[in-house]
């Protein structure tokens, strides 16, 4: 056997042993080249393998060279001896490579230690895996059999590589399957978007041996697909810089074309060359497609100068992406629902506030207390609405003015701080606050005084407050100073540039407004605040309306109570009347007997003294009868029985009765009864009684005689008729003037003081009135005015 053949055999058997070992490819290659190097009796050997892109050869294992070069020394296909052999797929022996134009010297690799080399392609059928070198420290003119040994060895190595690659491929596929499985499990089990994204990123990165991953997602909340932004949702720190550089273009191409994008080498790729600079990375971008809509993009970056991604990787990532798209959409939906749910929670909390306030409000019908509750709720942080200050204004429909009723809020920073610190809220709920009383120093604060001084005319254009009530709408004023609708005097008082107003509307009527501001915290008032405040105001308005109705009802009840009392009084009077009637009957009969027989006695007696005594008895009996009559008349108080009666007839009938007596007393009667005096609806008996009392008084006023004037007639320019009884007596004394019509007021020794009281009451019952005056010529005139019948 030729020595070369033996060498060859021992090398091949050695390689055979190595190939079945448990070492990985790199380790196997390392051991193989050492066997080859020693077998051929040289000082150096190395293996270059084509990378995944098939466009470069990389130093995979080396002996006699600097180990640092392993994994780094690269030649593009065709460049350098390694690149040339890999491309030409033919062995090459160079005794002096340094003089060969194909040779490229790379410093710090240790190549300068060698003088000659032999290289052979590692071939699997037509496919080239890489190149194996044997290096000699001495000038070496390799024989053809030595080249053949190397070529044969290369074939052997190709078997090792093929098996290893096959094995690796199976392993990779298994790993990817596992990865796909893991992701799909995650996709169906996790609904936390961030967790999901990091899982996808971690799995794809490790499966594809990538440097890192970024995931961009469509902005979630925005509505219409077109204008939505893609925001980075997940970025591996390792590739943050790369994503800044390449992400934008990768993203726009992927989204634009709606299909995966593979860049093998950024420095070579026409789309990225201009921005790549010294970077040499491979990138895959895959769109997340949901219902043919791009909802996001996954981008993987390879290591700098590392392996390029290939179509398999692209395929894998696309598979992952299709599942991820669904999961991401679900998670996004879930997140949105979560958000909605939390909105609902907030809404529920708001409702509970409204409920609390509503309960508290319905518990009081005292308006002042109610307003305080409303404003406390409006200014309470934590469980309340949380505005800094609030003013409640109510409309006065009669004067058409919106009047500040109450203001609640801190007057100073100190008070504000105290009121709004957590501590203040911790131990008390809104209900408790409302029940226990005051959040801020009550009533006499400067702010309350300011609030109460606000008066706004309810006319269009007068101010934003008037507008709030008139338009029944809320206003959120951001820059009051620049807003022409805001009245500057009110602004001056409030010393705040942003505030909001809402109307208080109850049963369709704007009964007032609430003004709120955040003077101390400067927190902007949001639309949501306004909506909530409006709801609150609605409830408050109803409560206020109820309280107002209640207080009106209380007033009404008060009136009813008074009427009741009056009624009870008149019932008492009625009872008294019945009693009087009884007494009358019991007294009158004896009086009739006493008086009647005394009169008979008077006719029989001639003794002057006896006659004098009898006169006294008769006079006193007469007085008693008169007292009884007047009191009965006064107490009687029966409703008039109306009938159409000529006014003149009333006076005529009375005068007829008193004619004789008047003449006896030296009193002349002057009738001025107008033929135009109308007929009126009256109770003739009562009205006669009313006139009798006047006539009797006139008669009694003219002790020494005089003239009684009776006058009737229509009243010009009025739907009334008048009836007057005048005399020529002393007139009404100033002391009497205010008491004349009071019952039991009398200046007469034998008076009852009931005459004018009865007359007055009868006239009132006829919806008329009675006045008196003193004539310039002396004497008094009493005038009764009565309404004409309605026609």
């Amino acid at each position: 056997m030729e020595p070369v053949e033996r060498t060859e055999l021992s090398i091949l058997s050695e390689i055979g042993r190595i190939s079945t070992s448990a070492d990985d490819l790199h380790r196997k290659l390392q051991r193989i080249i050492e066997v080859v190097m020693r077998g051929i009796g040289k000082e150096g050997a190395s293996v270059f393998l084509l990378d995944r892109s098939g466009k470069n050869v990389i130093l995979e294992a080396a002996a006699g060279l600097n180990q640092e070069a392993v994994g780094k020394l690269t030649f593009p296909l065709g460049k350098g001896i390694a690149g040339w052999v890999a491309q030409q797929k033919v062995p090459l022996a160079l005794a002096d490579p340094y003089s060969d134009p194909r040779f490229q010297y790379v410093p710090e690799t240790g190549i300068e230690r060698f003088k000659s080399l032999v290289a052979a392609p590692i071939m699997d059928e037509d496919r080239c895996f890489g190149v194996i070198f044997v290096l000699s420290g001495q000038t070496w003119n390799a024989t053809s059999s030595e080249v053949t040994v190397l070529t044969t060895t290369a074939n052997q190595i190709s078997g090792v590589i093929r098996n290893t690659l096959l094995f690796q491929d199976i392993e990779d596929r298994l790993a990817r399957l596992a990865s796909i499985y893991e992701i799909s499990m995650a996709l169906t089990s996790t609904l936390d978007l961030n967790q999901l994204l990091s899982l996808i990123a971690r799995n794809t990165s490790s499966s594809l041996r990538a440097q890192g991953c970024t995931i961009h997602l469509l902005d979630l909340p925005a509505g219409d697909g077109e204008n939505r932004d893609f925001r980075p949702k997940f970025i591996d720190d390792a590739v943050g810089g790369l994503d800044n550089l390449f992400g934008g273009r990768m993203l726009s191409s992927t989204i634009g074309e709606k299909r995966p994008l593979l860049v093998a080498d950024t420095s070579q790729d026409i789309r990225l060359q201009d921005i790549s600079g010294r970077h040499r990375v491979s990138i895959i971008s895959v769109p997340l497609l949901f219902h043919d809509r791009v909802t996001g993009v996954i981008t993987l970056y390879s290591a700098e100068h590392g392996q390029s991604f290939n179509d398999d990787d692209l395929q894998f990532l696309t598979t992952i992406a299709s599942g991820a798209a669904v999961a991401v959409e679900n998670a996004a939906l879930f997140e949105r629902e979560e958000r909605l749910a939390s909105d609902a929670r907030i809404r529920a909390q708001e409702f509970s506030i409204l409920y609390d306030v509503g309960t508290a409000m319905s518990a009081t019908l005292n308006l002042d207390r109610l307003l305080r509750i409303i404003l406390t709720a409006a200014t309470m942080g934590g469980t309340g609405l949380g505005f800094n200050r609030a003013i409640l204004l109510l409309t006065n429909e009669r004067t058409n003015i919106l009047q500040g009723m109450m203001g609640v809020g801190p007057t100073s920073w100190d008070e504000a701080n105290q009121a709004w610190t957590e501590v203040a809220w911790k131990h008390k709920s809104l209900m408790e606050w409302i029940q226990t009383g005051e959040l801020f120093a009550s009533k006499d604060t400067a702010f309350n005084a300011i609030a109460r001084s606000i008066r706004v005319r309810l006319e269009p254009g007068d101010s934003i407050l008037a507008q709030t009530v008139l338009d029944k709408r809320a206003f959120n004023i951001i820059d009051a100073a620049a807003d022409p609708r805001v009245r500057k005097d009110v602004l001056e008082m409030l010393k705040v540039n942003s505030f909001a107003t809402v109307p208080l509307v109850a049963k369709g009527r704007a009964i007032g407004a609430i003004l709120v501001d955040n003077l101390f915290t400067n927190r902007p008032i949001t639309d949501h605040d306004i909506r909530f405040l409006t709801m609150f105001a609605h409830q408050a308005a109803l409560a206020i309306d109820n309280a107002v109705i209640h207080s009106n009802m209380e007033a009404m009840n008060r009136d009813i109570r008074i009427i009741h009392e009056q009624l009870a009084q008149s019932e008492k009077m009625a009872a008294l009347g019945t009693m009087m009637a009884e007494i009358t009957h019991e007294i009158r009969n004896p009086l009739v007997s006493i008086g009647g027989f005394t009169r008979r006695l008077a006719r029989k007696v001639t003794d002057p003294d006896a006659k004098k005594y009898i006169d006294i008895i008769l006079s006193e009996v007469g007085r008693l009868e008169r007292i009884i009559h007047d009191n009965l008349e006064y107490i009687k108080n029966v409703a008039p029985k109306f009938s159409r009666t000529p006014l003149n007839s009333v006076i005529e009938e009375v005068l007829l009765v008193y004619e004789d007596e008047l003449r006896q007393r030296g009193i002349a009667i002057e009738r001025e009864l107008s033929p135009d005096a109308p007929s009126l609806d009256m109770d003739p008996q009562q009205m006669k009684q009313a006139v009798v009392n006047l006539v009797v008084n006139a008669m009694e006023a003219m002790e020494k005689g005089g003239t009684l004037t009776a006058r009737t007639g229509p009243v010009a320019g009025s739907r009334e008729a008048i009836m007057e009884i005048g005399d020529t007596g002393p007139g009404i004394s100033p002391e009497s003037m205010h008491n004349l019509f009071n019952p039991y007021y009398t200046t007469k020794v034998r008076g009852t003081g009931l005459g004018l009281a009865i007359t007055h009451r009868i006239v009132k019952a006829h919806k008329g009135n009675i006045v008196f005056r003193n004539k310039e010529t002396g004497g008094a005139v009493f005038a009764i005015r009565l309404p004409l019948p309605r026609e």
Partner: protein, 116 residues
């Protein structure tokens, strides 16, 4: 001679009325209650009755009704201590209504007006 029946549960009133009316030339009978009044007009014919309103036993209104039943044309003067029924009875059922008074002028005037 015209005959007058005086009905009043007060004896003193009865004798006062009798004396006053007899002085005027009438024949006067007095009874103290309603049933006696009815019995009286069943026994004899009267030209006029003065009737008290409030009496023990059958009261004035009841007596008035019964008397009118017996003789619808018999004139009746109600003589009462009450003032308030004056309007009600003034023209209804009775021919006159006078309020009892120590001054019998009203009684005398009314009787004269009816009997002439």
């Amino acid at each position: 001679m015209k005959k007058i029946l005086v009905v009043d549960d007060e004896e003193n009133i009865c004798s006062l009325y009798r004396e006053e009316l007899e002085e005027m030339g009438y024949e006067v009978t007095t009874v103290l209650d309603g049933s006696s009044a009815i019995a009286a007009i069943e026994k004899a014919r009267y030209d006029l009755v003065t009737l008290d309103m409030r009496m023990k036993g059958m009261d004035g209104i009841e007596t008035l009704r019964k008397l009118k039943e017996k003789d619808a044309r018999l004139p009746i003067i109600i003589s009462s201590a009450y003032e308030e029924y004056k309007n009600d009875f003034g023209s209804w059922a009775s021919d006159a209504y006078i309020v009892k008074s120590a001054d019998t002028a009203a009684l005398r005037d009314t009787v004269k007006k009816i009997l002439g």
